[in-house]
């Protein structure tokens, strides 16, 4: 818990450092105010997914008048963990896992929403540096770029299929010139942990401002308690599971006994 909080603080620090470096001074008056409909999502035993509303207001203090009022990117990142990607090959007729690559700090959840395709909003090097878009997450592994590419693509493909990675190019709507909103779907299988929601304001390919706020996805209720118990006290949990089974078996036998 302590480690993950520190990691989170570090992520925040990197985020602000990056954002400041990229915000040019000429647009000092431009501002970005943002919020999320809820900073805490509880995954209970009857959780069937939910939608988060992310919204805000932009204020570009610009001399030029025109239809281009700036671009907004909204990113929601889940907690990062290490994953192993394995590739199957046919060995003696059956499919067997052969090659494996381990990736460090892969986001368990990644959702991007923007008001138009991100390639039109910012140049490729900026997008790559800010790691915007599932294909630009650049997972770290010991293997060479060429070797790890198909494995990286597999992560993005499978996480997208599981609704854990998404890239919605026209999901940010403007209401008038300043207000914007978007919804991001939180699926049933959402990983729990500390999330971060990032908002970027671009104009003519330049980053004018960035904001981030924390978001917590927690298991709650009975599910959370069972999960914690299983991981914190595995031996006790195992014994409890056995006792439960013995009790259930005895009750069943008592109910259906034919005398």
């Amino acid at each position: 818990m302590f480690f993950s909080t520190r990691l989170q603080i570090k992520t925040f620090a990197i985020f602000y450092a990056l954002a400041l470096t990229w915000a040019p001074q000429s647009h000092a008056q431009s501002s970005l105010v943002t919020d999320i409909s809820s900073h805490l999502v509880s995954v209970t035993s009857d959780f069937t997914g939910t939608e988060l509303l992310l919204f805000g207001a932009i204020n570009i203090d610009d001399d030029e008048e025109g239809p281009n009022r700036g671009d907004v990117l909204v990113v929601v990142r889940g907690p990062e963990n290490d994953v192993i990607v394995r590739r199957k090959e046919r060995v003696a007729g059956i499919w067997v896992n052969t090659k494996a690559i381990e990736f460090a700090r892969v986001p368990s959840f990644y959702a991007l929403a923007s008001n138009r395709p991100v390639q039109e909003i910012a140049p490729p090097d900026v997008l790559k540096r800010l790691r915007i878009g599932p294909s630009r997450l650049n997972f770290r592994a010991a293997e060479s770029e060429q070797e790890k590419l198909p494995f990286e693509e597999a992560i993005v493909r499978q996480k997208s299929l599981a609704n854990l990675y998404s890239d919605q190019e026209t999901a940010v709507y403007f209401l008038g010139d300043t207000l914007f909103r978007t919804t991001i779907a939180i699926p049933t299988n959402v990983p729990v942990g500390d999330y971060i929601a990032e908002f970027y304001l671009f104009k003519d390919g330049e980053l004018l401002g960035a904001q981030s706020s924390p978001l917590f996805i927690k298991k709650s209720g009975l599910g959370r308690q069972i999960y914690d118990f299983a991981y914190d006290y595995p031996a006790l949990y195992g014994i409890a599971a056995i006792l439960l089974a013995l009790l259930a078996g005895w009750i069943a036998s008592a109910i259906f006994r034919k005398d």
Binding site: V43, T44, S45, D46, F47, T48, N81, D82, V83, I84, V85, R86, R87, K88, E89, G93, I94, W95, V96, N97, A100, E102, F103, A104, P150, F151, A154, I155, R157, Q158, K159, T188, N189, K219, L222, G223, R224, I226, Y227, A230, Y231, P234, A235, Y237, G238, I239, A240, A241, I242, L244, A245, L246, A248, G249, W250, A252, S253, F256, R257
Partner: protein, 305 residues
């Protein structure tokens, strides 16, 4: 209506799980088998991770075996001495099996080995049962029932450490039940089965135990072996989902009661040939999945091992 399984970390349809538990319970009541060998593959088919399926079904089998053994105990059909010897082997075997399970899990070959073990065991047992029951059916049609010898001598009877098992009317080497127990313990830990489908034929044909005490004694031993497997998986891999286990326990118990009533109306050979067909179907499905090209050649697992 969906229910969230905290350890499997997915939401599943409540009625699907209850229906599966009920259906397997029905079959196990009809055929007098534990049903783990059908339940585990079914859970895998509906998307529960194989490791969680194996560990959770072990937990559920403990409950099913308790209710079964109490009924047999009341009728005096449990050979506790034989059960204890089998159990000692079973504990050793399940510890070894759980160790193999953990290693396979960390090198990414667990799912393959679970499927392969199922294909081999279900295939062998399914075809043996099918031949045996079809032969019996043909023989009863013709009216020529072969008489079995009452007692046969194999090399097995020359082994040392002989023990007397009064209830089973046997005087045999303790090494035999120990070995059978250990083998079934390994299977139990890797495949998430009670092992009755291996144990029962082994007790009848290898040990020569009377059929009346076989089921009760195997159930008695299965309680402790599956309890041990549950504990080991909970400690080593945290894969026991009590929520899922509870749903399976409650529905399979009801199914089993209904199944028992059906079972008494069908003839033994017919029952066994039906069960054999079912076992072969599950085996073929698993074998098919191993051979066809998967939708995605890549799979993602947790890192940091």
């Amino acid at each position: 209506m969906t229910v969230y399984l905290p350890i499997a970390e997915i939401s599943v349809n409540l009625f699907l799980i209850l229906g599966m538990g009920g259906a397997i319970g029905l079959l196990s009541g009809m055929f007098g088998v534990g049903g783990g060998f059908l339940m585990t593959p079914l859970l895998i088919f509906v998307g529960i991770p194989p490791a969680v399926s194996v560990a959770t079904v072990s937990n559920q089998i403990t409950a099913a075996s308790v209710s079964g053994v109490l009924a047999h105990w009341r009728r005096g059909n449990v050979d506790f001495k034989m059960g204890l010897v089998l159990l000692i082997g079973g504990i050793v075997g399940s510890v070894a099996g759980a160790w193999i399970f953990t290693i396979l899990n960390s090198v990414g070959q667990l799912d393959l080995m679970i499927s392969l073990s199922y294909v081999i065991f279900l295939g062998t047992i399914g075809f043996l049962m099918l031949f045996e029951s079809v032969n019996a059916l043909i023989n009863t049609r013709r009216g020529t029932v072969k008489r079995k010898k009452l007692h046969q001598h194999y090399w097995i009877h020359g082994l040392p450490f002989k023990m007397r098992f009064r209830k089973s009317k046997l005087y045999i080497s303790a090494l035999m039940p120990l070995g059978i127990g250990a083998l079934v313990g390994i299977l139990s830990a890797i495949m998430g089965v009670g092992g009755g489908f291996v144990m029962v034929p082994a007790m009848i044909y290898l040990l020569g135990m009377p059929t009346s005490v076989v089921i009760g004694t195997s159930l008695f031993q299965i309680i402790f072996v599956t309890a041990n497997v549950t504990l080991l998986h909970a400690i080593n891999t945290q894969t026991v989902d009590v929520m899922l286990a509870l749903l399976l326990m409650s529905s399979s118990v009801v199914g089993a009661q209904i199944g028992t009533r059906f079972g008494t109306k069908l003839r033994g050979e017919q029952l066994r040939s039906l069960l054999a067909l079912l076992v072969i179907i599950v085996c073929l499905k698993l074998a098919f999945d191993l051979v066809i090209t998967p939708d995605d050649l890549y799979s993602i697992g947790a890192g940091g091992h």
